[in-house]
Amino acid sequence: MRFPITSAAMLFGIVALTVGIAGAQSGDSSMPKFDKSVYAELARAPVKAAARPNPLESDPEAVAGGAKLFERHCAECHGASADGGKKGPSLRAEEVQEASPGALFWLLTNGVVRKGMPVWSRLPEPQRWQLVSYIKSLDVPPGTTNH
């Protein structure tokens, strides 16, 4: 043993890491962890940002590209069908579908960090617009309301 306290320190680190993981993920994983107030974040988009049109609106491949990006980056939290997952709300909800493309783009870019939604500015701007195209293409389930 080269380091007298290596083992103890490593054990401490691993335990701390594990406790952190468990603590962060505590709660009943079968229940959604979000509340409806997350939708209110869309209303925080600055007027100028919310008014931005989707430059890929008429791009026939934007939705398909967005679907691929959604599967890769978003489905884990929002569900494979975008109808809500363990950590993320439904994107088929009226609040989302009625939001302007600019507001959705703004939310994707800035995330809702304090509520667990990461910033997605690491995706280039066209890819974020592709995601917006895909989200806006989703149907709202009949009779569904979140008001």
Partner: protein, 304 residues
Amino acid sequence: MRRTSSSRLIVNSVGRTAIFLTFLLAVSAVESLAQESPYFVTYDHYLEEPGSLEVEYFSNFATQRGGNDFNAYWLEFEYGTTAWWTTELYLDGQTTFDDGTIFTGFRIENRFRLLKSEHVINPVLYAEYEQISEADKIMKEIEGHDIEADHAVPNAILREGHNHELELKLLLSSTHNGWNFALNPLATKPLTGGEPWEFGYAAGVSRPLALKASAQRCSFCPENFVAGVEMYGGLGDRYSFGLHETSHYLAPVLAWNLPSSWTLRLSPGFGLNDNSHQFLLRWGLSREFSGFGSMLAGWFRGGR
């Protein structure tokens, strides 16, 4: 003779790695999160997604004047604790050709996002505790008066020296029109021996080869590749701040983000002055496990 032995080791290593990669790529079919930066030393402001675990293997081959070439490597476990906090554990080792292979220590790192939304420049606080021997050669950061000659000493001597250090970085990063610009000033304080604060830097710029995603699922689409360049080096210490007796490197970087959530990275590095290793070759392989936190939490609750 030494070069022959080194070459054989490299060939064997590459062969084993190719088999390993083939196996891993064959067994990985689950598409999930993977959009990693290409940097090896520089950090941008993007943290691990909450609940995701990224397991990474990195390798750093370096030529050595006045000693034996070496290949250092580290295993990295990166976990997204929250959307604003990422924690990591590193396990380091190295093989110095015609000398030996040793475990050189561990590091625990945390990164905290300071601002809740996106800004022109996004600051992230980085704090790391490391307990490593002086034989550690992964060169994850260059600091103080780190120079090539430090690595020429045989492992048997180097491993007797231990470093307990606290390292702080301010990660400044900005993304605009697909380009990421990152600058990481760093300060390191040895926790034993009364040695002074040491300073260093890393900076990088990178961009995906395509900004728009293709409609088809593909491995070789240009948007899956991120290319760039990074530069890193030491800036002396509290008593001799500056470029005197410091080393610096310039390194093109490339990341290939596979749809199967694997990422491959490659970076040849070039020393910029006589104190630097002439050539570095870094590569890395990583796999992201999304939903790891939920899975682990499920195990914890299993007995209740």
